[in-house]
Every structure is written in structure tokens, then in C-alpha cells.
Amino acid sequence: MANRVIIVGGGGGGAILANLLQPHGFDVTVIDKSTSHFFQPGNLWIAFKGVSPEKFLRPIPSLLKKGVNYVNDEVVSVDLNERRVTTRSGRSYEYDFVVLASGAELDYSAVPGHRELLERFGDFYSSPENSLKLWNTLRGLKEGSFVIGVADPIYKCPPGPHKGAFLASELLRSRGLAGKVKVVLAVPVPHAYPSKTVADILEPELKERGVEIHTFFTVNEVDNRENRLVSLEGEDIKFNVAVVVPPHRGPSYNISPAEVKDQSSYVKIDKYTSNVQGFDDAYAIGDCTNAPTSKSGVTAHLQAEVVAARLLGYDARYSGRTNCPIITDGKGTFVISDYDHPPIKVRLSRFKRLMEDLFVATYWSAVKYPEFWSPIFKAYFDATDEFIRRGEGW
């Protein structure tokens, strides 16, 4: 009988893994509570460029190869000892291998006033609907300040808030509001970006566009009456419109044994093999894990490749490689690092912006046909790994 693989979540990581395994004779089932997959970086285009959300949404079954089973249901528990996954509708599924790929959960109740802020203005993190709401909110903003804050140092796509600040300043300039609406970026870390090397590249670019930067500002409270963000470090910032990146958490569904979750509910894994700690028939990939690397689509993709190879009997390992794009109005760069090397200095250039745009254009195809795109990505990763090892930029 074919090995039964249950994949919890059909987002970036889960769908790629399913498509990599299906041709090799596995009996693959993807369980997702949602019927559509949304390309999360697209939120930025909806919120700051007014692109229609439909462009970034696809039905999950259309992204899975023929032969992959898709179940639209919410997983409520995973019993690693009994090898059983149970869903909201009361069904249960036995497996030979399980892969948790359910992403990070966003907690809007951790910071007082945050949920109300989201309801007032929308944001560019949670969903296409809330991104559309932010687009409409910004349409009405004619003066004052637009503030982007962060509530916890661990969140997906570390350059996300910065990309938001660049795109917001571009939008305001195009509307002739550059001198009237100030963009403010508040980050929990000591420099404009978590890595000092990358901060040194971004800070002058942000300042050139008039973006005001606050460091050591971890949003701890949203005061919706006086319209101010209050930080854990004891400062406050006034706003006309604000967006706060919420604290992220690991899966809220039950996993037994409970010790496989850390304090923030992330699934504890071996950072190289993606095995859930203590289980050789269970894996977790992408944003739901505690791997000490950026929560990014690139990580989810590379971990999916490692798990697929391991299930096929190869001793594959994930190096912790990241490749997070940062875009300004017209230029691009990447945050490139791995477990053993901090980010290197990568110059902003128009060519890298083009690379990012090309990647976005190939996304749906890369999810459905990873076997076609993998060699192309691999050539790029191999070539740039050299720079990481030498600690040089390019």
C-alpha cells in the first residue's frame, strides 16, 4: 500500500510539498480550512497600489496536481503517538507520515486596542479584505501621519513593514501628498532593520523619502481614543491612520504530546531536517515552526523540498537559507543569510526589482510545478550561497 501522507495546510509550503510527492506514488492528502490560497505578498499591492484581490487568490484544488486529495476542513488535533489527525467535522485520518504546514496565526487580542484598530483601518498583513480596507482608508487620508508599527520581534517577512513604508511614501507622492502626510515606521529593534548590515542599506533610502524611523518601539497598546501607539519601551506616537503587525503564534490546534510546542505555540523541529522533535514520521515546515530563520515563503519552499527528499530516502538538509525581497519604489534587494552566516550587503538595484517582479509572475506555476522550477531556483541559490560563505555582497 502506498505511504499515506497527510499535509495540514495548503499554503505555500504545503501545496509545493504535495506536488513534489504526488508523482512518486505517495497517497497525499492536503487538509485546509480555506478553499483558496492567497499569495500573501500581494497584500501590499492591494493596500498600496489598489490591485484587485482576485489577482492573488486561487482555489486550492487548482494548485494541486491531479491525484492529490484535498479536504476542506479545519484540523482540530494531531496525535503524533496515535498517528491521527482529527478535523472540525469530526472525521479522523490515519497516516504514515504527517507534515504540519499550517502557517503562523495572527493574534489581534494580545495588544489592547489592536482589534479595534484593525476594524477601523484594515491592514496589509492579515487578509486581502483587510488590505482592500486599508487602500480605501488611505484614500481618505489627506494630512497628518500614517504609522506602521510592530508588536513583537518575531513576524513573517521581516522586510514587510519596510516594504509597506516604501510603497506608502510612493503612493502619497503620486497623490501630491508627500509634504502633507508623514510616513512613520516604528520597529522593535535597535536599527531600522533587524540586521544592522541591511539597516545600513535601507535607512538612508527611507530617510530620503521622508520616512520617520523610531527604533526600540514595540507596540504594547493602541489608544484609539487619542489615536496613539504606546510602546513597551515607554514612548508614544500619534497617528491619523496606523497599522500594527500583530504578534504571531504557532498552531492553536491541539498537538499531542504538548511538549512539541514552544512557549509561543510554534512546533519544535530539528532545524535541518524539519522533523518534529522526537518523531521521525512527523515534520513541520514554514511559518508554523520554531526554526531560527525568517518566517518567509522561501523558507517554506526550501523546507518542503527537504522533506520531499527525505521521504524519498535522501539525507537532505535545510541550511537556513533566506532570500527575503525588499522593494522600494523602483529598486529591489534581498536579505540573504543562512543559519551560519548573518545577512550580507546586497546593493539595491533596478535589476533585483525586476528579479522580484519575475518571481511574483511565476509564483502560481512554481507552486504547481515545483519540479520544473526547482533546478532554476537551485542554480540561483547555489550561485548566491558562494557570496554568503565569503561574506560579500553583490
Binding site: D152, V189, L232, E233
Partner: protein
């Protein structure tokens, strides 16, 4: 007076300061937070953090490549 130890050894910048931020969120005035780190950037970062937050840096020492910051929480509202 609870003592919270944050072991951020092996974490690259800004891991240690992020770990301190997360511990600080759950701390109360009077608590002691001890951070252990190996990233050399942690020394100037923790000094800047103290200046910003106005908590008390009881000691900042380095032994065998391990930086140890002992912080007394005094500035939480």
C-alpha cells in the same frame, strides 16, 4: 523578586535584544532579567536599550566569549 534568565547564546543580532524584549513584556518592576549572549553587537545594543527604556543595568560583563547583562526592571508602567 523573580529572576528571569534569557539564554540567547548562539543567536545572531538582533536575536538577543529581541529575546530581551519578549522577556521584558512579561516582567514586572522589581524583576531581574539576566541575558546571556555571544553576539558582540549585544553590548552596545543593550546599553542603548537601557538608555531608551530607563531600566537599571546592574552589570554587564564578558567571560569566555559570553556576554552577561543583569537588568533590574524599574521602568514599567
Amino acid at each position: 523578586m523573580p529572576e528571569i534568565t534569557v539564554d540567547a547564546r548562539g543567536m545572531a543580532c538582533p536575536g538577543p535584544i529581541s529575546a530581551l524584549t519578549r522577556a521584558y513584556r512579561n516582567a514586572q518592576n522589581g524583576d531581574i532579567i539576566i541575558v546571556l549572549a555571544t553576539d558582540p553587537g549585544f553590548k552596545p545594543d543593550v546599553q542603548a536599550w537601557i538608555e531608551k527604556t530607563r531600566n537599571e543595568l546592574v552589570s554587564l560583563t564578558e567571560e569566555g566569549g559570553v556576554i552577561k547583562a543583569v537588568i533590574k526592571v524599574t521602568a514599567k508602567k
